[in-house]
């Protein structure tokens, strides 16, 4: 067992984990943050996307030890109290989710896509950037619309960050 420490959603946390423990297991099982989901075992589906030091990572492909000292943000840490992050609000407004299972990863990825591209983001780029996130319910149509809407109002999003 190895002791690891990191900051998750602004809170200092630590735990003893096996060397093989994946970050997603540490988040879900040790910390009880079950919003981050496991939809595959080959780094394809993106249901487990979290932000590590400001960048999106697939938490099923990061060992917990690799996150030592890192700042992690999960879907649970995105809203400010009762105030939803604009990406969360846009997913609801545009019906960008149905069963909700891929949604946390989609939202975390969407936040990063808008952060990197800003208001210039177009549909083709969004679709390309979502290559690593699979949704089986929505046909992506409304997910793309939600992300585009946030990009179009991205000054608002930046203000909220």
């Amino acid at each position: 067992m190895t002791k690891v420490s990191m900051t998750v959603n602004g809170r200092a946390v630590s735990g003893d984990v096996e060397d093989r423990t994946l970050l997603v297991s540490f988040l879900r099982e040790t910390l009880g943050l079950t919003g981050t989901h496991v939809g595959c075992d080959t780094t394809q589906c993106g249901a487990c996307v979290v932000h590590m030091d400001g960048k999106p990572v697939k938490a099923c492909t990061v060992l917990t030890g690799q996150a030592e000292g890192a700042e992690i943000t999960t879907i649970e840490g995105l809203a400010k109290g009762d105030e939803l992050h604009p990406m969360q609000a846009a997913f609801r407004e545009h019906h960008g989710l149905q069963c909700g299972f891929c949604t946390p990863g989609m939202i975390m990825m969407g936040v990063d896509i808008v952060r990197r591209h800003g208001a210039s983001l177009d549909e083709k780029t969004i679709r390309h950037e979502l290559e690593g996130n699979i949704c089986r319910c929505t046909g992506y149509h409304n997910i793309v619309k939600a992300i585009q809407a946030v990009a179009e109002g991205s000054e608002v999003a930046e203000a909220a960050e």
Partner: protein
Amino acid sequence: MGAEGFGARVLRKEDKRFITGRGRYTDDIELKDMTHGVFVRSPHAHAKVRSIDTSAAEKMPGVVGVLTGHDLAADKIGGLICGWMIHSRDGSPMKMGAHPALAADTVRYVGDAVAIVVAETRDQARDAAEAVEVDYEELPAVTDPAKATAAGAPQIHPEAEGNLIYDWTIGDEAATEGQFANAAHVTKIDLVNNRLVPNAMEPRAAIGSYDQAEEHFTLYNTTQNPHVARLVLSAFVGMAPEHKLRVVAPDVGGGFGSKIFIYPEETACLWASRKVGGRPVKWVADRTEAFLTDAHGRDHVTHAEVAFDADNRVLGLRVKTIANLGAYMSTFSSSVPTYLYATLLSGQYAIPQIFAEVQAVYTNTSPVDAYRGAGRPEATFVVERLMETAARELGVDPAELRRKNFVRAFPHQTPVIMAYDAGDYDASLDAALKAADYAGFPARRAEAESRGKKRGIGLSCYIEACGIAPSQAVGSLGAGVGLWESAEVRVNPVGTIEVLTGTHSHGQSHETTFAQIINERFGVPTDTVSIVHGDTDKVQFGMGTYGSRSAAVGLSAVFKALDKVEAKAKKLAAHLMEAAEGDIVLEDGSFKVAGTDRALAFHEVALAAYTAHNLPEGMEPGLKETSFYDPTNFTFPAGSYVCEVEIDPDTGVTEIVQFVAADDFGRIINPMIVEGQVHGGLAQGIGQALLEGCVYDHESGQLVTASFMDYCMPRADDLPSFNVMTTETVCPGNPLGVKGCGEAGAIGSPPALINALTDAIGRNDLAMPATPQRVWAALRSSSAAAA
């Protein structure tokens, strides 16, 4: 009536928990003292199990127990069943092989479970599962349904000689032959409806928990129908009588049919919990396990022919299909290639005679059962590929050939059981053609040609039967259950309302749309209504969600319970306001005496019902009503889809340049949610046509496409934005006038895609999935043929 009622784009009540990471799926549930189960699965497609040595695994760290198929048999735990009896043409019943939750003597597909290892942690259980030594004697395997009944094919179940489960027919063979004898033209086609893996994003999971003191089991499960799961586990598996077995379906991350069925893992986790002293046992599939063991979809091999008279009117249709049901008969597998398939072969057309033959066969593959559309996509693919091909052979416009044969008088009795109740197929075809600028296609094709690209356009006019189903009718066809639905409406003393439904939402948005109907009826805001589902301890009974039945059947049951609540509340309001019962109207959330200013708010009447201080003579206190609703017919959603593609002939890559869907779903409760359902269905249908194909190695029986690295799921950049619209004929068969929208996209889209692609490449024999390699090869052989 209410602002949030019929037709309103109400945002979803269920969204907040999902967008903030507070959803509660089965794997999110932690119970005290919980253990973890991992299955030992066969690496062979077909083998005898000579012996299983669990001794090394039992000594591994954290292991609580290792249980095998022999232990299961010793405890007399029953096997899984298929709940729909089909009879062959000779009158004999279908040949169902035994399906124990853990195989003891023979494994029949790669992934068939032989043991469950229970340990303190998931990783420990995985490690120990690796240490279980199973001695297999490999047997020859068959995975190709067309070869399963051949002489000398490996025998999979002793009960089904030659691997034939049934040889079933529908329609009048002699009359159909007579129609073909008089035909001016016959179009023939051979089709494979490719096997698919449903791949709901949440993998299947189960937690079995046994309370020793109460001798009571609880199952948390990724299921679309918790009561049906309880019924099968009680009546057939014999786990416990129903009052000692609670099934909870918490948030479920998509189903698409694959979570209807009662799988071996549920039995194993419940039984294992009892065997390890009542500690809960949790199992969660990893993705490859899901690929191997979720029931797959489709997998038909079909020859079909359509006969026309000299005026291009359809005289008859004959169809011969081999359906692969896999290694065991899954819960509803027998009904999918029979009553959910061949009864839809009339499509939107007036066809005097139809005859269909279906042979269902066992193979050494994962079981096959209902997947989004279930039989109806297969039927639509047959009918709409035939119509498009016939139009090309006859040299007529495909839209006009369809239009010439549309059913226009309702009700319409087809030769294959179904009686269509209402529809306007011209309206949806007109809407789709207009939106797609069908008339402008030749110019677009010429423009593409000038850029070196191949353009094609394809249509599909589908019909489906939803609102499953009238109990007596399906009972006469072999269903082991009735397919009514139940509801309970509880008005609380403060006037808030809980609606308990036997349907289950795993993405369909019932928490919103059901609440909209309460608003429609009573004028109370949707945020004062909660929808309760997915727990056999809370909901009286229910048949679950599939076959686009939740609104047409489930919500109709709610509607009936609302009638009863309204009647009682009006009687009470009349009594309280000293008015005649007939003068009471319910408007904007108040009971009013018509023509006066006297009124009582909804919550005031609710409170009066519970205080019971002043009730009419003979009225019982409280305001809670239940109902059971059994539909009188199926519903018949229908529509027209137009797909336009552009192919790069150098690479074979297809771009969908536009996809138009015009659907008639009857009355629409929430257009935003209906559009979302269509988008998702289209993505799955386009996935089938272009990307997805489940491949078994015919020699070894190994599943080649067992991960998202190997099985091509539709990604965002594989799909266009969709142009969806609706036309409306009200469904006369239920009080809401609704038809159902969950499956249409997956039913109508594959033939539209393939019709567009074959139009573009100028040949008809393009298999699904039409990958770039296949399209490129087809183009090469076309140009070679032309040269």
